[in-house]
Subunit: 147 residues, 4 copies
């Protein structure tokens, strides 16, 4: 679980957080979630990138907006891996504020070689990290796991 | 049909356009599409807002990413209204580059009172504009209309 | 002092954080700094806005970029009020990473009525908050205060 | 001269365009200005990048905000090179709307090797392009050139 303080730049005319920013906030949550299960054996990173050149990009993303959020709101972010395979993973991020559901973001991520953009299998250390997130979710919040 | 030149700020590490930016680009396309059917009778706007306080916000948004885009790419944007009702409308934006499909963005928009955030029926002039967009789409590109 | 974890959306092609994002990060730091000196007597906020309609907007902003930052970097943010008057304030935000200077952002903020955009004197509670920030800075880091 | 239509995502609570977005709009203007003087001999680009790995990043950026801008505004952008040397260039972008001055953005750009981030001299084709922009500005708008 992570928190995020909404800043003015997240909002648009009318005062509410812009829908596109929830995709950014969800990505921040997925990244923090992966960071928590990273092991030394998952290898070094250089300038924010993996040494093996693998990266995760969206093939599909969908968000449902339940209630608006505003500047200074403290959002609570929780990301789970719903399902995962050798090259793809499916994530859900639930964003709440004081117990009120604000937004859910579902994404399908595919592994690519960042230099060429070509799809590739996940390197074992990355697949392991995603597997660890998936198992944590299964233990903690069964209602969110894939059926 | 509108075009959009990708700028550096649209990209992220790795070089490709960030997925959240496609939601912004799609919104830009919807806005330009509505602008083309705006009539003098649709009423004045002040500081970017309608005088009647009505606005359109996303209830749901989904994007499918088919191929990456990069800085300086010239994207072609085409937005259509798939379906519309008294308070809601469903739009599809198709983003291509030189005939290559890059991304499709589908959104459900609901009409709200911007000051309070409460849902409301669309004012007639806004419903008329969306109806005009829907009829144009039906004439020009039947393959994109709702079934 | 606040921290900020760089996310992928902050970066651009080439991997480094985009210069415009440092203005957003600096605003986040100023907002958090003001939040720490807010008293109950400073009045309620509704949907991220002050009840009296006053807001702070930039008249001038300048940033100097000393070293690049990358995804996952943990940035340390420190904002100070260098000078302040009845309608304006001058702030400096220093952004570092592990003791390395990344960026400094200087801004001049003016108080406006958000509904009309017209300049106005700061309401007393807002002037008091900024005065409290200025005094804190004078105690903690004299090298940053205006001369 | 280029134009830019303000979109909702450019704005923040209160309705006006966020200050950080003017830095993005100015970069878009500089990029379009360079694009107009690009010759076939300036070499191919791949995925938005120069083949020689050179890129321009900000060392310093400053903006002065004269009047607010709002959603749907049509901004007029004009970028000039004020001065240039073997590794650096100084640009000014003037942003207006219907003859009203909205914002001026001044930046100092340095040439770096994008892969390593190290400063380098500009490759001749890039220096030539910037020289062409500088000469155009000197012919058209002497009041903007460096003194």
């Amino acid at each position: 679980m992570d928190t995020y303080r909404v800043c003015l730049a997240d909002t648009v005319a009318g005062g509410l957080v812009h829908h596109e920013r929830f995709f950014e906030i969800a990505e921040r949550s997925r990244s923090a979630t992966l960071g928590r299960v990273r092991l030394p054996s998952d290898g070094p990173r250089h300038r924010g990138r993996r040494a093996d050149g693998a990266g995760l990009v969206l093939r599909h993303g969908a968000a449902r907006f339940h209630a608006p959020a505003f500047t200074d709101d403290l959002l609570v972010l929780r990301s789970e891996v719903l399902k995962h395979g050798p090259a793809r993973s499916w994530w859900r991020t639930v964003i709440t504020r004081g117990g009120t559901l604000i937004c859910t973001v579902d994404v399908e991520l595919v592994c690519v070689d960042i230099a060429t953009g070509q799809p590739r299998l996940m390197p074992p250390s990355l697949a392991d990290m995603i597997g660890r997130v998936a198992r944590t979710a299964a233990l903690r919040s069964p209602e969110l796991t894939a059926t």
